[in-house]
């Protein structure tokens, strides 16, 4: 009896020593939450592909060999801000998530932005477009990686106005993203001497655009600006062709177009469209090598979209910051500060930096959709037309209203 109690006392002491021992060593556990639209209209441009991109980033970081333990969980926000914030809260409170990545849909992205700030997590947004994430609603916990509405307006929008498209009519998705894109593009159009003659706000996920297209046609505007995304954009473009809008002399401005959208429209209809992205799988050997690895693991063998590429590159940079910190990855503001202090460089987006407001700066590329006769493979869609350096593509710090800049 007595020996037994001594034994258990010793065991208890041993355990206590082990536990304190762990607490003294560097904490090297990280949990990543990939929050996306897993089944709706944005699922192909983010969704399961973004989770895959996160897995590849973990593999390539080599942190596992250095004693780090990294887990990934994924969630479906269904394009609803309430669901998105509920998942984010649960991830921080129950699952102990450290970093949330992707989050397409600006409405959800802005809502989740607040939760992450409140919980002091890290937010690497790739999928959302609204420039507000690093402007009026910026947060010390947020890095906005891939693209934003300011960039889209100042590349595709500006190029079209300068080419003579001085009257615009907008088809705008009726939520945060559409409003931001229309606002930023309108600013560019006006600044370059153009005029917005009208517009219509359509509900998210509209199957039929004919009513809206007829209004756009009747407006006689030279450019019909599509301030929408995903399935809404593909439907607008396809149906605009049907109603003879392009043949009638009006031009479509696909302000935001993804690789998967071009696939869905088909080259026959999409050919000749001009648009901007910050990543395309077929840029150089490095992007091709990554894209091949990625596509081999995708169910439909699709190469990564720029959103998925952004998840990968953002996480790679995040891991570099963790390595530099050496451990204890749970203080979001500290990690993001470290990320901002290091220049970014990766195989997919090249060299760049993260501004104090959280905006990642890298090159943007103007593309044109190839003719069916020019396309050599199932995903060979883009022709590079021009490159816009990062400092010209994104919001200049002087114009940003971000509170972080006023320190």
């Amino acid at each position: 009896m007595k020996t037994k109690s001594i034994a258990s006392f010793l065991l208890g002491t041993a355990l206590a020593v082990t536990i304190t021992g762990v607490a003294f060593a560097q904490d090297k556990t990280v949990k990543i939450g990939a929050l996306s639209d897993q089944s709706g209209l944005y699922a192909d441009l983010g969704g399961p592909g973004s989770t895959l991109a996160a897995q590849l980033a973990v593999e390539d970081s080599g942190l596992a060999a250095k004693g780090w333990k990294i887990d990934i969980i994924s969630g479906d926000h269904q394009n609803k801000p309430d669901i998105g914030t509920a998942i984010a809260r649960q991830w921080f409170d129950v699952d102990k998530v450290d970093v949330i990545v992707d989050v397409p849909n600006s409405g959800v992205a802005l809502a989740v932005n607040n939760v992450i700030k409140e919980k002091n997590g890290v937010y690497i947004n790739s999928g959302a477009a609204t420039s507000d994430l690093t402007n009026a609603q910026c947060s010390p916990n947020t890095v906005h990686w891939t693209y934003d509405t300011y960039m889209l307006a100042h590349t595709t929008g500006q190029a079209l106005v300068k080419a003579g498209g001085d009257t615009w009519f907008f088809l705008t998705a009726d939520y945060a993203f559409g409003a931001a894109l229309e606002r930023d593009t309108t600013a560019v159009v006006s600044a370059n001497g153009g005029k917005v003659v009208g517009g219509v706000k359509h509900p998210l996920n509209t199957p039929d655009f004919s009513s809206f297209l007829l209004q756009a046609q009747a407006s006689k505007a030279k450019i019909i600006g599509l301030a929408n995304a995903g399935g809404d954009t593909t439907n607008s473009i396809k149906q605009a062709a049907e109603f003879g809008i392009v043949k009638g002399g009006q031009k479509l401005a696909a302000l935001l177009l993804f690789l998967t959208d071009v696939k869905a429209i088909g080259l026959e209809t999409a050919q000749g469209l001009n648009f901007t992205e910050t990543f395309y799988w077929d840029m150089d050997d490095k992007t091709r090598a990554f894209s091949k690895r990625f596509a081999d693991k995708m169910k439909n063998n699709a190469p990564p979209t720029m959103v998925q590429a952004g998840v990968y590159a953002g996480l790679r940079h995040y891991f570099k910051a963790l390595e530099a910190l050496g451990g204890n990855p749970h203080d979001g503001v500290k990690v993001v500060e470290k990320m901002k202090s290091m220049p970014t460089e990766d195989d997919l987006f090249g060299k760049g930096l993260i501004q104090p407001n959280g905006r990642t700066i890298h090159n943007a590329y103007l593309f044109e959709v190839k003719k069916p006769s020019e396309s050599k493979g199932p995903w060979d869609f883009y022709k590079l037309v021009g490159t816009v350096p990062g400092d010209q593509a994104f919001t200049p710090l002087a114009e940003s209203k971000c509170a972080l800049l006023k320190k």
């Binding site: 709706g40 009638g248 869905a264």
Partner: protein, 287 residues
């Protein structure tokens, strides 16, 4: 004023999809007493079958109009034989839950393999282009959709309300035991009716393939509106669902013109109003 004509016509085009789909739902509900929530998924399957026929078999749009409804119809009949028939006489809720589950499974399977952004399906060459009506540019394909679906709707109505076969069907719904006593195979007739309703959904799917993307969720986006159409028209009323389908398409089209933000809710507002005033729907008879 010109713009108004154009919106009316566009409304009619959308209305023809509502009419075709709600017609199938009304046939199934009227004859089988099943609230067929799988209707949207079957509509989507119609579009996908057309896509496969073209891309794997080289079979063109015109054959797809015939073959897709038959193929999906057979799939529907298998569903009816293996699952739905066991629900006869049970509360509507069981049928609703079962078909809803089927819809989720079918959509999930398609989404797993084809993603969510859809596949392109070109307009057949014969129907490409459009004509200038003076007040609008009408794509020929859209005109074709309106005329074709009107013909199909009227043919279905005629089949059920005016032919001997239709009379048997309606009698079998009223009193299956008695009809069986006359030597008619009631279960087989019910299976065929479900097949017909499903075939109509698939037909609408083929018609919509060149206009919309062939997407796994194309039906899920539409089905709720179509249910509202059926409720407004009066559950199970064939003519009611045809007329309401077209009418609601027009009302929705006008909303898109005058107040676009409300265009995806106007149908439900109308549904509430109709139910408040006439709970059996516009053409429904009190049970």
């Amino acid at each position: 004023m010109q713009a108004l004509y154009a919106q009316l016509l566009v409304g009619l085009i959308n209305g023809s999809f509502y009419a075709l789909l709600s017609l199938g739902l009304a046939v199934i509900f009227g004859m089988l007493n099943i609230i067929n929530f799988a209707h949207g998924a079957l509509y989507m399957m119609g579009a996908f079958v057309a896509y496969f026929l073209l891309n794997l078999g080289g079979i063109n749009y015109w054959w797809a109009l015939l073959l897709a409804p038959i193929i999906v119809g057979i799939f529907g009949m298998i569903l009816e034989r293996t699952m739905l028939q066991w629900l006869t006489g049970l509360d509507h809720l069981y049928g609703l839950l079962l078909t809803f589950g089927i819809a989720l499974i079918v959509q999930g399977v398609f989404q797993n393999y084809f993603g969510s952004s859809g596949l392109p399906y070109a307009i057949p060459d014969q129907l490409k282009g459009g004509m200038n009506l003076g007040f609008m540019f009408l794509p020929i394909y859209r005109g074709w959709v309106v005329i074709f679906s009107l013909v199909v709707c009227i043919a279905t109505w005629f089949l059920i309300e005016k032919t001997r076969l239709g009379a048997y069907l309606r009698a079998a719904t009223e009193n299956p035991t008695l009809v069986r006593a006359f030597g008619i195979n009631v279960p087989r007739m019910i299976t065929l009716t479900y097949g017909l309703g499903v075939g109509l959904a698939a037909l609408a799917g083929v018609l919509s393939a060149p206009i919309n993307q062939v997407r796994p969720l194309m039906g899920a986006d539409l089905i709720i509106v179509v249910f509202a159409v059926v409720v407004i028209g009066g559950m199970g009323s064939i003519m009611g669902s045809i007329i309401t389908g077209f009418a609601l398409g027009v009302i929705e089209g006008l909303t898109k013109y005058f107040y676009p933000e409300a265009s995806n809710t106007v149908v439900f507002v109308l549904m509430v109003l109709v139910l408040l005033v006439k709970p059996t729907g516009l053409t429904g008879r009190a049970a």
